[in-house]
């Protein structure tokens, strides 16, 4: 601490790279980007992206999960994990998006962090990109701790539109679209078409001739405007133009075909209708071939400009995607559900579809948490800084971080979004420990790095549950890895609140006909609900049928009469799929609602879906990740 001023002075006076082994000392070197400096920063980023090996990403959100059970947990299959992440991505908003292109050369890592401030401002007044978003006060307060400037974010944050929203936005804007290609329609002209073509053709000719003749003569203004009125002509910039109203897309096609004849002078523009489709075709008269080229270039620029304005921050995403460089994040399922939803398209309802579609946008995604799993038990490393200190104490893998210092705080550099640099650092460190040398040299060499590639694109419930938030946090699971089929899982609720997993287990042990000793384990999901995992097949079904039968006896009977209820993993799946059941803070509420609401139609629905989830039913959950 006492060294700090000196070091700062040194850094400022030298004004070039500082080196350090830990992440802490580059804190001020993150370039902050708002809408005022987006375009210049974009060029800078483009250069760094083309030079780098990897791109690390880190997102700051307005919230994560509304209730403890809604967090992605180890008892979730891939599908459940995805549904939970999807729900969060659809509710919450990203306020900061840090991007850090970095290169690894041996033990040296060079990183160039950018932190983009986002706000889903409806720039075009069309209800996009986002109608509303949720905030969790605890998340906003942690931003306050970091001295986050909410005014800057809301006033100057960069907006964006997803790829799916962009075409819709263009239609809603109603700006004319230049259309240069015309495909001759295969079908022959009907009588009505022929009449239409003849009428339009003569109208265009008349108008064109009139314009030409008027341009040679010097009429007075009154006559010119009268003529314009009579012919339906208008001005497009400095050039004369005419609007031809259309009622069907067929007519648009026909008009474009007619215009082929006049291609040397006339440029067609399509004016979209508000509700979609086409309202009119605008024909612009140019004075020469050069003039026509000029107009076409102008139109192209206009369109590019508009597209840039519409895309906003998505330019960055498109840039990363186009580079095909591998991306690195700390929790890829959470990050990429947000990224997909904000910048690609609404999230598909199915996890396979999501992963498949995501891969076409980001072909290589590395999850640092997943890589860390190879080295350390997951519960030791709930976040980036915990991972850092864990590795630091156990492994000798010095990494030389270099974050070039390009400016001062006044020039828009500070520590916000610094987490992304820590992710780069952590990634390099874990790779070094795992002896996965990230490639050096030519870009092609990367694909030869099969060892590292085997870690790419793995999504799953990789996050730990809230450490310590579970009562007592007693670890009921044995230390050996044990996989449990979802069929051997039973959810229990309705026991007295505040019971610990151990006590519950002891109580259940009083019914030895199902709860054979050493054949089951109990864990709390939240205060209201517990999971029982059987290590013998068939016991879960036995328990559930026993609980609803007359034969129930002993301690279990007592517990059931006091309100204990049970359900299979299938019911849990139904809860995850049916958002209407997500209300309530506690999982027990959702279970009660799900059971009360098991009407014929939803049963039919789940049966029809059963075939597609069968692959899921033998999917395993790794209880050691708890």
């Amino acid at each position: 601490m006492k060294m700090a001023p000196l070091r700062q002075l040194l850094r400022r006076s030298r004004f070039f790279c500082t080196k350090a082994s830990a992440g802490g000392r580059h804190r001020r070197n993150v370039k902050q980007v708002t809408r005022s400096n987006l375009s210049t920063s974009l060029e800078e980023l483009r250069a760094h992206v083309s030079d780098c090996d990897f791109i690390a990403l880190s997102l700051r959100r307005t919230g994560s999960a509304s209730a403890a059970w809604q967090r992605v947990s180890a008892y979730d299959t891939a599908e459940m994990a995805y549904l939970k992440a999807k729900r969060a991505a659809e509710r919450f908003q990203v306020l900061q998006f840090a991007v850090c292109p970095f290169s690894v050369r041996g033990s040296k890592v060079t990183a160039n962090p950018f932190n983009f401030h986002l706000f889903p401002r409806d720039e075009l007044k069309i209800g996009m990109p986002s109608y509303s978003f949720s905030c969790q006060t605890s998340f906003l307060e942690s931003l306050v701790q970091e001295d986050f400037d909410f005014n800057a974010c809301i006033y100057d944050g960069i907006s964006y539109l997803s790829r799916a929203q962009e075409p819709a936005a263009k239609v809603r804007l109603g700006n004319p679209v230049h259309c240069s290609y015309i495909v001759k329609s295969p079908s022959s002209l009907s009588v009505a078409d022929a009449v239409f073509v003849g009428r339009i053709k003569s109208r265009i000719k008349q108008w064109k001739d009139a314009c030409k003749s008027s341009s040679t003569k010097t009429d007075d203004a009154l006559i010119r405007s009268l003529r314009q009125l009579a012919l339906g002509g208008e001005q497009y910039g400095s050039r004369p133009c005419m609007n031809i109203d259309v009622s069907t897309e067929r007519q648009v096609q026909l008009i474009l075909e007619i215009l082929v004849e006049f291609f040397e002078e006339l440029v067609p523009l399509i004016i979209p209708a508000k509700g979609g489709g086409t309202q009119a075709v605008r024909v612009v008269l140019t004075s020469s071939k050069e003039d026509k080229n000029l107009l076409e270039r102008e139109l192209q620029n206009l369109e590019d400009e508009q597209s840039r304005r519409v895309r906003g921050f998505r330019e960055v995403i498109d840039l990363i995607s186009a580079s095909q460089k591998p991306t690195v994040s700390h929790n890829s399922l959470n990050d990429f559900t947000f990224i997909y939803n904000m910048f690609v398209a609404p999230l598909p309802s199915n996890v396979d579809e999501f992963i498949c579609s995501l891969r076409s946008v980001f072909p290589h995604i590395f999850d640092v948490t997943h890589l860390m799993k190879e080295v350390v038990p997951i519960e030791k490393t709930p976040n980036v800084s915990a991972s850092h200190s864990y590795l630091k104490n156990r492994f000798f893998a010095p990494i030389d971080m270099e974050v070039p210092c390009k400016g001062t705080e006044n020039e828009g550099y500070n520590s916000h979004g610094h987490n992304v640099v820590s992710i780069c650092h952590l990634f390099a460190k874990v790779c070094s420990i795992l002896k996965l040398t990230p490639r050096t040299g030519s870009p092609d060499a990367r694909h030869e790095d099969i060892a590292l590639e085997s870690y790419a694109n793995i999504f799953g419930p990789s996050i730990v549950g809230p450490v310590g938030s579970f009562e007592e946090s007693i670890r009921v699971w044995t230390s050996s890895t044990r996989a449990v089929s979802t069929e051997d899982i039973v959810f229990l609720w309705g026991f007295s609140k505040g019971l610990s997993a151990r006590t519950l287990k002891a109580q259940l042990g009083g019914s030895p006909d199902v709860f054979l000793e050493d054949c089951f384990d109990v864990r709390l999901v939240d205060k209201s609900c517990a999971i029982v995992a059987f290590s013998q097949p068939g016991l879960s079904g036995k328990l559930l049928s026993l609980m609803s039968s007359e034969e129930i006896s002993g301690r279990l009977r007592e517990m059931v009469s006091e309100g204990l209820k049970g359900a299979s993993y299938e019911v849990y799946k139904r809860i995850c799929r049916q958002e209407g059941l997500w209300e309530g803070v506690e999982l027990a509420d959702a279970f009660d609602k799900a059971l009360a609401d098991s009407n014929p139609s939803s049963v039919a629905e789940s049966e029809s879906k059963r075939s597609e989830i069968y692959w899921c039913s033998d999917s395993i959950i790794n209880l050691d990740d708890l």
């Binding site: 601490m1 006492k2 700090a4 001023p5 700062q8 708002t34 919230g63 509304s66 908003q93 889903p120 401002r121 409806d122 007044k125 069309i126 209800g127 986002s130 109608y131 509303s132 978003f133 949720s134 905030c135 969790q136 006060t137 605890s138 906003l140 307060e141 931003l143 306050v144 001295d147 400037d149 909410f150 005014n151 800057a152 809301i154 006033y155 100057d156 508000k274 509700g275 979609g276 001062t408 705080e409 006044n410 828009g412 500070n414 007592e472 610990s500 151990r502 006590t503 049916q578 958002e579 209407g580 997500w582 209300e583 803070v585 609401d597 009407n599 014929p600 139609s601 939803s602």
Partner: protein, 690 residues
Amino acid sequence: MNSPSSVRVLSRAVARALSTAAPTPSTFPLKTVTRSNFEPVLESLRDHVRSADFVAVDLEMTGVTSAPWRESFEFDRHDVRYLKVKDSAEKFAVVQFGVCPFRWDSEKLSFTAHPHNFYVFPRQELSVRGSSSEFLCQTSSIDFLARYQFDFNLCIREGICYLSRDQENELFRRFNESSNLPRDLVDFGDRPLVNMADVFFTERMKIKFKDWRDSLVLGGSSISESQESSSGSNQQFQTIFYNMRPALSLIGFTAHQLRLIQLVTSKHFDDLAYVSVNSGGSHVQQLVIYIDSNADKDLLLKEVKEENHRGAESKIKAAVGFRHVIDLLSSEKKLIVGHNCFLDMAHIQSKFLGPLPKAAEEFAASAKKHFPHIIDTKVLLNSNEMLQRQMKKSSTSLSSAFALFCPQIALGYKTPDLSLASRVKVEVQVDDIRASSWDMGVKHEAGFDAFMTGCIFAQACTHLGIDFKLRSPLEDLAHNKLLQGHLNHLYLSWTSGDIINLTTGNITGKSLGANDSKKRSRKIVFENIVLLWGFPSKLRAGEIRECIVKVFGYSSVTSVYQLDRTAVFVQFSKAGLVSDFLVLKETLERNNNTVSVLNPLWKLLEGGKTRAANYEAYKEICSSPLSKISFADQAEAVGINWKVKSAELEVAEERPSREDEPSHGSFSVNEIIDSFYTPVVEKQVGSGNL
């Protein structure tokens, strides 16, 4: 040591000045209240409210509608309108609360106003189970606030927290529950310590406590402060006195270690007691206390319990925060004045009192209990003919009504005009500074909006014939005869003109006085309505009408109203057609053959995702706490069993139509509202006070 941080602060300040347009201070005197000055302001506000003739209020929220289809529509029945307001009040947060007491000064012959602008933020000071620490933001509303230079930093960092009465009660209940419970040692009690670290720790504590006790009892002089630094931890023992008893204060132990300590004292020492004392602040004291006897022990535990109780009370009181202002307004039973304030009242109920009831009538009962006298200036301006004439048919939005009614205040007395003689004079007092002239205040700053509302009300009163100069100071304005017709009348929804009377709970479809009669000529018969959604996305209202008319005849459809791109209301001319339609739809879908495809209705059903239901389903969908952007997604997520719905419908159809419905022949309008989709920005964003 200091230099880096001060440099940082300075440069941060510079950066902020450069990067963000800091909200410009308004020259209008306005008391800004945050958590730093809340307590003293609350005390002074008490006096102002007590002496006030009426109190104007205004709220700024983070949004109004949680989905486009939750906006107010013509096809909303009263109960649905209430559900939409309820949804809004439950989902969005209040970020600013304007309170402006007005008092008639009989010496100066003018009103004195005390505008307060409270920044409120739903920060969770104490965790309350069931209360959500989550709120929704409507992007356009946030952007709207930003356009009026709302200071989000101040709000989130310094906003005043609050608890509703229900939450407060719940906290007390839980606190009492936990303090009455015996210490839970079940998990720990009989089990031998298995963990070696625990065994060592327990032994060490045993020795430590024994030494300490012995030194006390034997009068040893070496009661030393000790710090266990050997292990590098910061565990500390400190001898202090707790309520005249020697005590050992434990610092730096984990919860687990404290539990072991508790075990040690209860098992091995009769004359030591472990207690945990929380006297209100964030600091909790962990103490091992020396006791003389069992009687002394009981006394001590009682003392500790009382102190903890006082501590919890003061904590909860602090967490109640801004609700003290609401309690003040409610307990003083003053006349509350708001502009288009039904949504504001719903927010007040849901944030500060308790959950909103399911129906508007119950809400009215609760509102009447807490705020017996409410005047809505928007209702007042629209329902009184004389005021209508004054308004000259101009907009009754807050700012234009203010400019029209109180030009002398709006323009700061800059234009001397003879007509101003009839204008009510208003002075503003903030702290000790009085002002009767200022530049225009900041619109959509809750404190200023409340001030404008109060001024409009004062002026409207004089137009109604209330002469403040002749009024006795003891007379309660809320009981003035001239106001009785308007008291507790609020717009349930401004777009429809539906007015709810909070005194009776009745809802009337038309406004009381003169109003645009053409607008209300259209009668809607909810039994005749089919809700359609999930149809092919290219279809618009006109085409849908076309399809249905081809099957059921030209006069079968009265109107088609587009709810959003994915859903429409179809109003049939007869209730019987509703079930005919549903039956035909089901038959076509079931058969799904060439004959079906040839039916004109098939165009609607293409894609196989078209759903239809009667009006009750709409209510059910609106009552769901979910808010998907498109109606079709919402309906799917809510997952109502539609088959059941249509079956119910066939029964309902048997019922004779109610008497108050007009005969079918009276439908004059065949109106199709197409492409309703043009965004009405002001409607969406203007936080309810248009």
